[in-house]
Amino acid sequence: MQLANSATDVDATEDGGVQATVTNASDIESRAVSTSITTDVLPSMSATDLDVPALSTDLLVEMYKKALTIRLMEEALLASAEEGQIGGAMHTAIGHEANAIGAAAALRRGDYVTCTYRGHHHGLAWGMDPGRAIAEVMGRSDGFAKGKGGSMHFVSPEHGMMGANGIVAAQVPHAAGLALASHIRGEDRVAITFFGDGALFQGVMHETFNIAAKWKLPLIFYCENNRYSEMTPIWRTSSIEDIYLFPRSYGMDSMQIDGNDVEVVHAAVSQAAERARSGAGPTFIEGITYRLAGHMAGDLETYRPQEEVEKQQAYEPLTVLRQKLLARGVDDARIAAIDEEIDEMIDEAVAFAENSPWPDPAETYLDVFVSTTYGEE
């Protein structure tokens, strides 16, 4: 196992970049005996050395806005779910935001992303509108999928967001297919796919790792390792101790990073995208992160101690981002103004969704088939 490094406490380097440094000695100690599947690992304890160039303050401000937008939308959605306005399985990404935001910022318009049912953060990071997103989750006609897909099926082709998925790991070969499309057409688009630590043990992951590595597809595998698979800690079912080392069996490059730090995520995904575009094939990124809310709305979280959650709070994406802004001289007042702005925006988005009409029942029967006319040519 490589030595643990952190990019949470950042030091500017001479060339304006930031070098990830170790947070503190006790973290290293615990890292030395634990592995990336144990719940006591903190995001900052990631194993990969990575040059992390500093992002511009403007971009960081944008990222903070995005992260807050996601967070507040999630909280609004949880409240709506509690009121009974949302049914089914709604999985929020509270605590996961930086993985999506850092990655989206590192990629280009024209690139593709697929993700899991825990996909609200990816949707918004890739540019989807919160109002239409909330409407979708609520099953209203202004939802981007007219209320048919709901929380587990965020999708927006115009943003390159090609679909969240309710079946664990099913979205992974989809992204490989998008990467294959790019490869077949000789384009320089890359695809990124997000999945969880638990997803690693679906057979299709293995199949896709092999094909992507063999065909050198322009693909980024991004594991949001929050150490839980529903109510089961991943160490209980995983024989693999450090997730990011596993894909090396396929000859694939991999990194283990702090998934809660947008700059680290941005650097890692940028590097992976560059490799992909150069024809060097896929990269696997393990982003150490933590889900601060339940697995899904209504989860009573009886399966983990509250102290564990509290310990992770210090490393959560919004806190980290706020620290970065303060370090860059963005002051409390400016941050408070942003907070207010986003808060209002989400209120409006919720109002928009709540006022959106229910779909016409006749809509039920549409979108099963596209009608084609080739036969009558």
Binding site: I86, G87, G88, A89, G139, R140, G143, K146, G147, K148, G149, G150, S151, M152, H153, N165, G166, I167, V168, A169, G198, A199, F201, Q202, G203, S229, E230, M231, T232, R236, T237, S238, T302, Y303, W358, P359, P361, E363, T364, Y365, V368
Partner: protein, 328 residues
Amino acid sequence: MRRTTYIQALNEALREEMQHDQNVFLIGEDVGHYGGLFRVTRNLLDEFGEKRVLDTPISEQAFMGMALGAATVGLRPVVELMYMDFTLVAADQIFNQIAKYQYMTGGLLNVPLVIRGQQGGGKRYGSQHSQSVDSLYAHFPGIRVVAPATPYDAKGLLKSAIRDDNPVAFLEHKMLYFTRGEAPPPDEEYLIPIGKADVKREGADLTIATFSYCLLQALEAAETLQEEHGIDCEVVDLRTVEPLDTETVWESVAKTGRLLAVHESYANCGVGAELVARAYEEAPQLLRAPARRLGMAPVSIPVSRVLEEEALPWKNDIIATVLEMERG
């Protein structure tokens, strides 16, 4: 008799069978320490230990295949699929292996296992967490399919399913979990035979043959039809979809002359079509009007409350179809 919930009935059936036969073990995601996403297996790990209540990774193909292997040497695995939609993830092991194993081995091996979990709509889980798989399972020979609608039937049939020497798909329904009904106390053992339908409401005018949550919808529809239209429906709870107890259905149709089959799986190539086809094979003379079936609309279950309601073949659709049939 005391009243209990459907979940509680299932939990008791599992506990009793695990006490009764040490070959019975549970396997699936979150079934052990957490006690199952829907709490059907709660407390069983504590009572029976880690060798008999196994928490798996999200590897449906592997643990389904493992259940087959263990069953061929006399263990009796009860496999939980968290949502029955995940049948499709393990479809090779279920339909190419488990359902066929006895036949392919010329009867040298058999596979006494239960695949259980909840299916069905009504709670806005959308396309991949709401579909009903009864017709899918019934299509493949070699696997019994049971889908009880009441706590009483659920307990008696789950115990029978576990004791059955064949693979059994035991299909629960998410809308049934918190329903209550009468059942004997935990120590009073009873088994309900697989393959026996049960007339849940007597009536003279038309037979509704159904199962799982649609039974409750059919019973409500029957009340409305009686009250508002004076149509007296007999409601037959098939309880088992494979084998189909057509005898009980034909007995009912002999009285009513009319048959409507209702289920929540897709109508197309569904159990309802099968029952209609068998009616014309086995008992055409009993039918005084064309037999009909009602299933899920040909769409993959939308999330929106309004759309989901439209797609599900529930009370209003049952009433409308019965009225159509009565009008001729």
